[in-house]
């Protein structure tokens, strides 16, 4: 389960509206307690896929190193990521799964239709390694 405040939830939805028709992306930081991931901080990121931003995203690892360091200073871990699908369902794609490597973390996807965020879903990356990984539906609880 992903616990997130309404304010943070709306923030990640709005990010997708702001970058439409391109995909937005960002990092979720907070705490993990068993199967519950609680968001304490949202870090917006740039999308380095300037070659194909309408259907691809990539977060610069250098940006992630900084976000991770700043999170450590606040006592937070990276617990997930979010991105948007412009005019496309809020469902993970084969590309999303192929490029997912943060097991135990949440992958949040927002469908942004004609510039408006219409649906957000979350998925947990499960499995033991690259051979058996799966993205499974995850409940979002708004606090």
């Amino acid at each position: 389960m992903l616990k997130i405040t309404r304010k943070d939830y709306e923030s990640l939805c709005h990010h997708g509206e702001e970058t439409y028709p391109h995909e937005c992306c960002g990092v979720l930081l907070g705490q993990m307690d068993g199967d519950v991931r609680s968001v304490a901080f949202i870090a917006r990121c740039g999308n380095t896929r300037i070659d194909s931003p309408q259907n691809r995203y990539n977060i610069d690892p250098r940006e992630l190193v900084r976000i991770q360091r700043e999170g450590r200073e606040r006592g937070e871990d990276i617990i997930g990521f979010y991105h948007s699908h412009p005019d496309h369902p809020a469902q993970w794609s084969p590309t999303d799964l192929a490029e997912a490597h943060w097991f135990g973390c949440s992958y949040v996807i927002t469908c942004v239709e004609k510039g408006k965020a219409v649906l957000t879903n979350a998925f947990e990356l499960t499995g033991s390694d690259e051979n058996d990984k799966k993205l499974v539906d995850e409940k979002i609880e708004l606090a």
Binding site: E23, M32, R56, Y57, N58, V65, Q68, F81, T95
Partner: protein
């Protein structure tokens, strides 16, 4: 000692630690020390041919070692190595 920061998905293979300290003079030696202490990490970091997996980024402080001397990059006391799996995707 060099500190290696372990990303959340790999901590279960590193004794649940967020960071591991190793004595090393290069990035290669540091990572070798890490997998010696925690052998279960090896298959998550390296493919069967012994190379770092393409989606595993290794940063020395704020620099990607690919743009330094790769795994031959020198490390010293107080240095921080971050293991950062890629984050990407799209519809």
């Amino acid at each position: 000692m060099t500190k290696i920061h372990i990303p959340t998905p790999l901590r279960q293979y590193a004794g649940k630690q967020a960071a591991v300290e190793v004595k090393a003079v290069t990035v290669a030696e540091a990572l070798s020390g890490l997998v010696s202490q925690h052998p279960d990490l090896r298959r998550h970091l390296y493919s069967e041919d012994g190379k770092l997996r393409a989606f595993v980024n290794v940063y020395l402080n704020d620099e990607d070692v690919r743009y330094l001397q790769k795994e031959a990059t020198a490390v010293g006391d107080g240095d921080n190595i971050s293991i950062v799996p890629s984050i990407a995707g799209g519809r």
